[in-house]
């Protein structure tokens, strides 16, 4: 084997030496044979002849010997490549168009693949990642809802399908110490969290079960990034204390750099959950606010685990009490972690992947068409080669080599485009996209790009190669003065029709997304987002354990902020619309005989300072707004939104009605007014009911609040907004310089961000659709131009026989537009059939929206009209005298 390789390589590298060896050997053979004949008694001349006769044609012998060995295939291939390269250099225009078309297709698909691969196809970066599951409680409508700690305890004790189960919740901690205070995003997790994911800390140790109990020790595990940033990667950090929220926490471990936390990508610090295992009925242990992750035992499958969970849910046992709102009566949902984190983005990503494959297909079709056109011009060349003895296979291989060379060039350029594309994709990616950090050009992506290039090269090369090799020798050579347009035009037209159809599918997709986004941003958020700056302010530290101190801090901060020039209104709110904050409570109306409010956690609770509605621009519908009076003692006045009033007080005047929110053991809240609905989670989602409570009267002071500042200065520009933000921040710090401020943004940006996923899809679809449209137009143009130049003589005759320029123009236009119409008809059918893939991304627009289809058709007609007009105009200007003389 090795010898074959070495000898072959030597023969390949020193071709002339190898040739000389063969020649010498053959000559020597001849000499010896001659000598033998002479020895037998022949005269030298006769002996020579006899030897020649015996050996036959020495050239053929030489060729036979030379043809042995694998290196000959290589050298044929090399000469094919060399020839192909010469042919491509010979027509730089063609090569440039073909290579850039392919680069576009390959680059776009590779970039998209690099984004989709880690999210949808690669396993998550955990050992035996397919065993990691999420377990959810099930809501009325089959929706996934967070589990309670009680449910987790019961499942963890009773289930046999899982090795480890763990629950988690978001946590925010302010770290203080030598460096500047910093607000950290983290998680409170039950002790088995890292074990469930399968990755232990790289330094130190994992949490122990004994640490995860009420009033357990304060311990934390750090992320690698935090450890390096804050502690310079000092390994002695393990065992040391750090200050978080004014408390000392002992660092017990540091996670490895490779640990990717798909459940909370921005979390940098973890601490045990430390819930009360005695499960007090009115405690947080029974709130639906924990996500549960679990690792299947080796050999257990998702199906069997789901079955076991259902059995447990259906059969309560005396050892584990259940609260009525956590009865698991609707069963549990078990889904693979990967499916779970990609669930919301998967349909969109698949649609985008499909779209880019269409672009790739169009690029291929376009290059096929170019090659076919070139094949028609080169028919004479192929015929000549065939006449000189080239077999059909040789010509096909030669042409395939050419198309592969094109594909490789296109692929190389495409990889460059993909590298740029990946960067743009990451920059554009919507906040909800999981595993963004894993999006890069890695070996898998390169393999994909290479495979696509090769496949594409064969795909678009095969048809032209086949057609060229089939060409009739005689007809080919005679074809100096062809009188008819060849049958290959039919193939080319079919391909153009396909191209137009594919482009239309993409255009419709882009059109539908565009309309959706327009509709989405036409949705009134319920507040006036312009000129509103917002930031999260926290009262951090033990001195704020006294609620009155916390209230005073926020009051003083507001006062200070109102002094900033340009500020017209400022207020605090416990959860900010469209920011990702989400907090719901159970409600209990005095008028209803409902038992426990906690059974139905369906009402958004906003704890607000009095000026909130002015600052946000939320309109009052009935009754009155909250004001300073409501902060005083006495009955607590609250506001509800219209949706609440309509759904819960149907037909009754809501003003004066009384309700409990959360706790039922406190005095009733009285509804004092009704305000407009506000979109809280997303512009696209239907309205939730909301109750606004004066922050000063809520039974526990919210320590983290969002400041909302309305100013007379246009806050939209990043410069002015950040200047204002700096002033506002300064004002807050003038009250207390140790309080962390986070999430500084404008309400306008939050509104825009709520459409981010659709906008991401739209940008990609628009880009792909425009590329497809351009390619289709080039395709139409190419076929028509080719057809016109083949029919010059015919057109000349027509003109000579009296056809007017307008006749010729309309003839060619008709020919071109008929391709468009055929393609459009197929494309519309295709678009209707495939637009279902976009369903989750659409908003307020039907997937067969007639206006979109009409607009897209008009655009297509316009562009293809231009593509047809150029060759048509050229045809109309053909001078019959010149073409006829040329005959």
């Amino acid at each position: 084997m090795l010898r074959q390789l070495v000898r072959g390589l030597r023969a390949l590298i020193r071709r002339s030496d190898a040739d000389r060896d063969v020649e010498d050997e053959v000559r020597h053979y001849l000499d010896e044979a001659t000598a033998a004949f002479v020895a037998d008694g022949l005269s030298p001349a006769a002996a020579r002849r006899a030897a020649q006769l015996e050996i036959g044609n020495t050239t053929i012998v030489r060729e036979q010997v030379r043809a042995y060995g694998w290196e000959n295939l290589v050298s044929t291939f090399v000469s094919d490549v060399r020839y192909a390269a010469r042919r491509l250099r010979g027509s730089p225009g063609f090569t440039a168009v073909a290579v850039s078309t392919l680069a576009l297709g390959i680059g776009a698909s590779t970039a998209i693949f690099s984004a989709v691969n880690p999210i949808l196809f690669q396993p998550l970066p955990y050992p035996h990642a397919q065993r990691v599951m999420m377990v959810w409680d099930q809501g009325v409508d089959g929706s996934r809802i967070d589990v309670t700690f009680g449910t987790y305890r019961e499942l963890a004790e009773r289930s046999r399908s899982f090795d480890t189960m763990a629950v988690m919740k978001p946590w925010q901690a302010t770290i203080t110490g030598a460096a500047q205070p910093e607000r950290l995003v983290g998680q409170r997790v039950s002790a088995g969290y890292f074990h469930a994911l399968g990755l232990p800390p790289a330094l130190g140790r994992d949490f122990q079960a004994s640490e995860d109990r009420a009033h357990g020790p304060n311990v934390v595990i750090l992320s690698d990034a935090l450890w390096r940033r804050r502690f310079n990667g000092d390994a002695t950090i393990v065992g040391r204390d750090i200050t978080l929220n004014d408390n000392l926490f002992t660092v017990v471990g540091v996670m490895p750099a490779a640990f990717e936390n798909v459940l909370a990508p921005s979390a940098e610090i973890w601490s045990p959950l430390q819930y009360d295992a005695t499960l007090p009925p009115d405690g947080r242990e029974w709130g639906h606010h924990l996500r549960m992750v679990a690792r299947l035992r080796a050999g257990a499958g998702r199906g069997s685990a789901a079955q076991e969970m259902d059995v447990i849910a259906r059969t309560p046992v005396a050892d584990f009490t259940r609260m009525p709102w956590a009865s698991m009566s609707r069963g549990l949902i078990v889904s693979a972690l990967q499916d779970d984190v990609t669930r919301s983005v998967k349909p969109g990503l698949i649609a985008i992947l499909g779209a880019v494959m269409l672009v790739l297909a169009i690029a291929c079709v376009n290059v096929t068409n170019l090659l076919l056109g070139r094949g028609a011009q080169r028919r004479g060349e192929f015929a000549m080669r065939a006449a000189l003895g080239a077999g059909r296979g040789r010509i096909m291989i030669q042409l395939l080599t050419e198309s592969l060379l094109l594909a490789v060039l296109g692929g190389a350029l495409g990889m460059g485009l993909a590298a740029l594309g990946v960067r743009a994709l990451v920059a554009l990616s919507p906040p909800g996209l999981p595993r963004v950090s894993a999006i890069r050009l890695d070996s898998a992506v390169f393999a994909f790009g290479f495979a696509v290039s090769t496949l594409v090269g064969v795909a678009f090369g095969l048809l032209p190669a086949f057609q060229a090799s089939r060409c009739d020798l005689q007809a080919g050579i005679q074809r100096g003065s062809a009188r008819t347009a060849g049958g290959h035009q039919l193939t080319r037209r079919t391909l153009v029709i396909a191209e137009v159809a594919l482009a239309l599918v993409l255009l419709v997709g882009a059109g539908l997304l565009l309309r959706s986004l327009q509709r989405l941003f036409a949705v009134a958020p319920g507040f006036d987002p312009s000129h509103v700056l917002t930031m999260q302010v926290e009262a951090s530290g033990h001195r704020f354990d006294d609620q009155r101190v916390a209230h005073r801090f926020f009051e003083q901060a507001l006062e200070a902020v109102r002094q900033v020039p340009g500020v017209t209104a400022a207020a605090f709110v416990s959860q900010l619309p469209l920011s990702g904050d989400f907090e719901k409570y159970g409600v209990h109306l005095e008028s209803s005989a409902n038992t426990s409010p906690n059974e139905d956690q369906s009402v958004l609770r906003y704890a607000v300072s009095a000026g909130y509605f002015d600052a946000m621009g939320i309109p009052l519908r009935r009754g009155r707004l909250l004001d300073a009076r409501d902060d005083a003692e006495g009955p607590v006045a609250v506001l509800v939104d219209e949706s609440f009033a309509k759904r819960r007080f149907a037909g009754v005047d809501p003003i004066g009605q009384r309700l409990h929110l959360g706790r039922t053991d406190l005095p009733w809240y009285t509804v004092a007014g009704v305000v407009g609905n506000v979109k809280h989670t997303s512009l696209a989602l239907t309205q939730s009911d909301a109750v606004y409570v004066p922050a000063s009267r809520w039974y526990s002071a919210d320590r983290t609040r969002s400041l909302v500042v309305r100013s007379s200065i246009a806050a939209s520009g990043p410069g002015s907004s950040s200047a204002l933000a700096a002033q506002v921040r300064h004002a807050i710090w003038s009250v207390d310089k140790d309080q962390p401020i986070a999430r500084v943004t404008t309400m306008e940006d939050l509104v825009a961000a709520s459409g981010a996923e659709r906008r991401f899809a739209l940008i990609l679809f628009e880009a792909f659709a425009l590329a497809a449209l351009a390619l289709a137009a080039i395709g139409i143009y190419g076929v028509l131009a080719g057809s016109v130049s083949e029919r010059i003589r015919e057109i000349g005759v027509r003109t000579a026989l009296g056809a007017s320029r307008a006749d010729i123009l309309s003839m060619v236009m008709r020919q071109g537009m008929s391709l468009t119409v055929a393609g459009a008809l197929i494309g519309i059918t295709g678009a209707m059939a495939t637009s279902g893939a976009l369903a989750t991304l659409l908003f307020g627009v039907s997937r067969v929206d007639p206006a979109t289809y009409l607009a897209v058709l008009a655009l297509l007609a316009g562009v293809s009209g231009i593509a047809c007009a150029i060759p048509a105009w050229r045809a109309a200007r053909i001078d019959p005298a010149i073409t006829l003389r040329a005959e």
């Binding site: 010898r3 050997e25 020597h28 053979y29 037998d40």
Partner: protein
């Protein structure tokens, strides 16, 4: 006077390699020498086609069964001499054993038919 015997046949398909190896097991030789020796020993029954022979030599050399060396002849031309390698000798033994087995089997079959 050297004559082509009329009843000479081409070497049986697939045995050329074995014959070359056998011939070279006696002493190193050049291409024509091998052809000549095969013809002589077979008493003119086998005639070796020079083209096939040279290709076969190339193949055997590539397989590592032959080593080649260039020598200069008296009239200062280059001549390629082949000699058997250890692997070639092993291969020859294998091929010989195989051939003997087949030939005796065929002989038995033919005898049984008589």
């Amino acid at each position: 006077m050297r004559r082509m015997p009329n009843d000479s046949t081409d070497v049986i398909q697939g045995t050329l390699d074995m014959l070359i190896l056998k011939t070279l097991s006696l002493e190193p030789m050049h291409g024509f020498g091998i052809a000549r020796r095969v013809e002589q020993i077979s008493r003119g029954v086998f005639k070796v086609n020079p083209g096939s022979l040279l290709v076969a030599l190339q193949r055997l050399e590539r397989s590592g069964w032959l080593d080649a060396e260039w020598r200069h002849t008296e009239n200062s031309r280059r001549a390629k001499f082949y000699k058997l390698t250890r692997a070639g000798r092993k291969q020859l033994d294998l091929a010989t054993a195989d051939w003997t087995r087949r030939a005796s089997a065929i002989a038995r079959l033919l005898k049984a038919e008589v």
